[in-house]
């Protein structure tokens, strides 16, 4: 069974060029196709501006693709109304300070998705909210507080409770622990893992922290300037990375091992510009092993067990 399926999805944004400049087109997601099986966790990694958050918003139905198809649980996202979408797929965002209404009590925040459906009775709403708060480790007393009266980790628990209260099938987690301290990050990652197993959820898990992705994901996609340049089962991606960008990302992870020093990632200083995607392989200006043909030829997708890689040289 396929939980999430994307076919040739493309999304561009127009950026105003200012007084005299021409408008520019930023290609955020460029012809991306993939499928996530039910119960799987697809981790998406990449640098800021690679399009990973745009991808999340497309799948959530918060943005419309320029072209291509997006389906969750076999239903086209574009054809669903907001309520139906909310019953299937829910987000957990990075910053629990920004994603919770500061004037609304925790209980009411968690109750909101149920009330928006319009067909739950007051007693039913109360019961479901109580259950959900307890399930994410928040006391009834905390339910009466405002978000400002909670710690960052507690706030992220509220966001998770709100996402799961409708019993969705899919949760899109966009950097869910990036704003948290390590000790709290571990608590939240453990909670997300327990909930996934118990409720049979499918996750799309976006993070710039590769160690976190390795811990939670069953497969990983590496995104660069709007494309998946490599995709593989987690063990394979971390054990035998093929794309030079994947290798550079992995090399840049600073594991807590003294004496190793800081690695030379070898990517240079030219940062990618999504408004000006290079010809040929889009990674070639930063690639440590690029050859002249990489500036001309677009790399085809080469199939690999459980995924693929887009590089001329592997």
């Amino acid at each position: 069974m396929t939980a999430i399926e994307l076919g040739n999805v493309r999304k561009t944004f127009r950026v105003k060029g200012g007084l005299l400049g021409a408008d520019r087109h930023v290609v955020a997601v460029d012809d991306v196709s993939f499928a996530v099986p039910t119960g799987g966790v697809l981790g998406i990694v990449g640098e800021s501006g690679c399009g990973k958050s745009t991808l999340a918003r497309l799948i959530l139905g918060l943005l419309q693709p320029d072209r291509g198809s997006i389906a969750v649980e076999g239903q086209r996202v574009a054809a669903m109304d907001r309520r139906a979408r909310a019953r299937l797929i829910q987000p957990v965002f990075q910053d629990p300070f920004a994603s919770l209404n500061p004037m609304t009590r925790v209980r009411d925040i968690v109750a909101m998705p149920l009330k928006a459906q319009g067909n739950f009775g007051a007693a039913d709403v109360r019961r479901r909210v109580d259950e959900m708060l307890a399930r994410v480790g928040l006391s009834a007393e905390m339910g009466r507080r405002l978000p400002a009266e909670l710690s960052g980790g507690q706030r992220q628990r509220v966001a998770i409770a709100r996402a799961l209260v409708l019993r969705p099938r899919i949760v899109v987690c966009d950097e869910p622990t990036s704003a948290l301290d390590v000790s709290v990050q571990a608590q939240i990652l453990n909670l997300l893992a327990e909930l996934r197993r118990e409720l049979g959820l499918t996750y799309l898990f976006i993070s710039h922290n590769l160690a976190v992705v390795e811990h939670v994901a069953s497969e990983v996609a590496v995104m660069y300037l709007g494309r998946f340049v490599e995709r593989a089962p987690t063990e394979r991606l971390f054990g035998e990375p093929e794309h030079p960008y994947t290798r550079a990302l992995l090399a840049s992870v600073l594991t807590p091992e003294p004496g190793l020093g800081v690695p030379d990632v070898g990517l240079g200083d030219t940062l990618p510009d999504p408004a000006n995607i290079p010809a040929g392989c889009r990674f070639h200006p930063r690639c440590p092993i690029a050859e002249p043909r990489c500036a001309v030829e677009s790399p085809p997708l080469k199939a690999r067990p459980g995924g693929g890689v887009e590089c001329l040289l592997v």
Partner: protein
């Protein structure tokens, strides 16, 4: 030989909230000392106390606070202003908020040198261009004429580092210098800082919450919790033989690539950092500690398993 920076029994409070409660640490010449801890533990406040950049409502006191043997507590504002940005410099997490958006990179960089060393504009500009090249910026001439918003995050942080080095400081305090950057850029900036630290013999106080950074760049580590330094040791020693339960817990929380078992829970520390009320006594970690008992609410001794390693816990083992 006296240490470059000596902090002994530092106390900082804001109203009735104690942010730093008796923290001690020192930075030797040519040493990178990492101060690690979670948000609110007092690590940034410690750094700002050294630079005397605390908010006006802060109260700072210490048994000793000295830079190159010179007392900083009794130093006048103008005496402090002569040190700051000169012999001791600081770089911050978010370079966009610490660079002035209305001035070019060149004018901000040269101002430091003109102010402290009374250098001519030409000499200052030459030095700025030199330093930009040294921190790995190509076309420094072009960058000097640009405004901060025209630079990427990584370039801005390089500019901040170059600016901090304008007056040849002996002490560099870096507060989460790479937290706002992508991992690939983070590695470049940390390599740069390590190289400069070595080449220039800088003493560096590096503040971070990231144990991966600590392991890779620090000579010495101090772990802070709720305003206290709970453990301090040479880096290899701290990672191999952590003694404080909080240090041990922190190390278990970090997912290590290659050693990760999927679906196996990560180590975590239950609970949250407590609010420290006035008159608080005993160990601030006891509510979250698996080994705690009633003796943890009385005064806690500091143990010294070796000359360079100390920790604050009633458990000698």
């Amino acid at each position: 030989m006296t240490a470059l920076l000596e902090i002994e029994q530092l106390q900082v409070s804001f109203g009735s909230t104690a942010a730093v409660r008796g923290a001690s640490l020192s930075v030797a010449r040519g040493e990178t000392h990492c101060l690690v801890g979670e948000s609110g533990c007092g690590k940034s406040v410690t750094a700002l106390s050294v630079m005397n950049l605390l908010a006006p409502n802060a109260r700072r006191s210490a048994k000793r606070l000295a830079f190159e043997g010179q007392d900083l507590l009794g130093l006048s504002d103008s005496g402090m202003a002569n040190l700051r940005g000169n012999a001791m410099a600081m770089i911050f997490q978010e370079p966009m908020t610490s660079l002035n958006p209305a001035y070019t990179v060149g004018s901000q960089m040269t101002e430091v040198l003109r102010r402290h060393k009374r250098a001519s504009q030409r000499a200052a500009t030459d030095r700025a261009a030199d330093l930009l090249a040294r921190v790995g910026i190509t076309a420094p001439g072009l960058r000097l004429g640009q405004f901060p918003h025209q630079l990427s995050g990584g370039l801005r942080q390089r500019v901040m580092i170059a600016m901090a080095l304008m007056c040849e400081p002996r002490l560099l305090i870096a507060d989460e210098p790479t937290t706002a950057l992508d991992v690939t850029v983070q590695a470049q900036i940390l390599r740069l800082l390590s190289r400069l630290q070595r080449d220039l013999g800088l003493g560096m106080l590096l503040i971070t919450h990231d144990l991966g950074i600590v392991a890779r760049v620090a000579h010495r580590v101090s772990v802070m919790y709720a305003g206290e330094v709970v453990e301090s040791a040479p880096t290899a020693e701290l990672f191999a033989n952590p003694r404080h339960p909080y240090t041990q817990g922190l190390l278990r929380c970090v997912p290590v690539p290659g050693r990760i078992k999927r679906d196996e829970p990560l180590g975590s520390i239950p609970g949250t950092v407590p609010r420290i009320a006035p008159g608080f006594a005993g160990c601030a970690f006891r509510e979250r500690c698996a080994f705690a008992d009633e003796s943890c609410s009385s005064a806690i001794p500091r143990h010294r398993p070796s000359a360079a390693h100390d920790f604050l816990c009633r458990l000698p083992a």
